[in-house]
Amino acid sequence: MKRIGEARALLIAATASAVTVAGTFGFAGIMRSQFSRPSLSSLTVGPAAPGTAALVIATANQEEGRRLFLLNCAHCHGDDARGDEGPDLHDLRKSDERIRQLILSGIKGEMPSFAKKLNDSDVRALTAYLRTLHL
C-alpha cells in the first residue's frame, strides 16, 4: 500500500513541479508584456525622413543600453544613475574606450568585471546610454 501511495505522491509531485514552473514562466511573460516599453516598430511608422534610420538605430542602441544598465549596473549606481554604492554616472568625462575597459575589467575591490556577462555590442549599447546622461 505504501509503495502505491509513494508512486501516486510522485505523480502529484511531478505535476506540482511542472505547474509551478509553467505558471512562473506564464506569470513572468504577462509581467514582461505589461511593463515592456513601446516597440521600435511603433516609433518608425510612416515615411522616413533623411537621417531617420541613423537616429532610430542610435535610439535602439540607447534603449538596449538602458535595459542592460537596469539589469547590471542599477544595483550599485541607482536606477537613475545618480549613484548609490557606486558613483554618479552623469556627465562622464571618460573616453568610450576607457568606459569599455572599466566595464570589462572592473575596478579591484570596488566594481566587478562584466567581461563574462557583456559582449562588445552590449558595452557599446551601455556606453551609448551613458552618453545620454549628461542631458
Binding site: 509503495r3 505522491a9 502529484i12 509531485a13 509551478t20 514582461r32 542599477a74 575589467s105 566587478p112
Partner: protein, 143 residues
Amino acid sequence: MLLTSLFWSRAHGGATHFPIALVFASAFFDALGFYCQNSPQKRQLNGAGYLLIILSVFGCLGAVVTGLALSQWQVGGTGLTLRHHMVVWPAVALIVGLGTWRCLVGKRPSTLGFKIYLGVVLVACALIGLAGFFGGEMLLGGQ
C-alpha cells in the same frame, strides 16, 4: 521609489539564501537520519529534514519572485544570467517536487523511496549551489 532595481537586488540577495540553506540543511539531517538506523535520534533527524524541505519550497517562492522582478521578468537571458537560469529552474522544479512528495508521503517513507529521495535531494543541492555560484559571479565575478 521603493521598488527599484536596488531594492530587488537586495531583496533577491536576502531571499535567495533561505532555500539554499534550507535544502542543504534538510539533506544533511535526512542523510544523518538515514545513517542513524535504529537510533533514537533517527525520527527527530528525519522530522527536521521533513520540515526544512517543506520550508524551502516557500523559500523558493520568495527567491523566484524577487529574482524575476530583478531580471525584469526574464526567464532566460544571456551569458551568466542564462547559466544562472538554466540551473535555477530545474532546481526550483526539483525542490517543489521533493517538498510536495515528502509532504504527501509523510515522515516515514519506505526505505527504497527514501533512498531515491535522498539521491534527488543531492542533485537539487548541486543545482541550487551552482545557481548560487553563478548568481554570485554575476555580482562579484572578476574581483
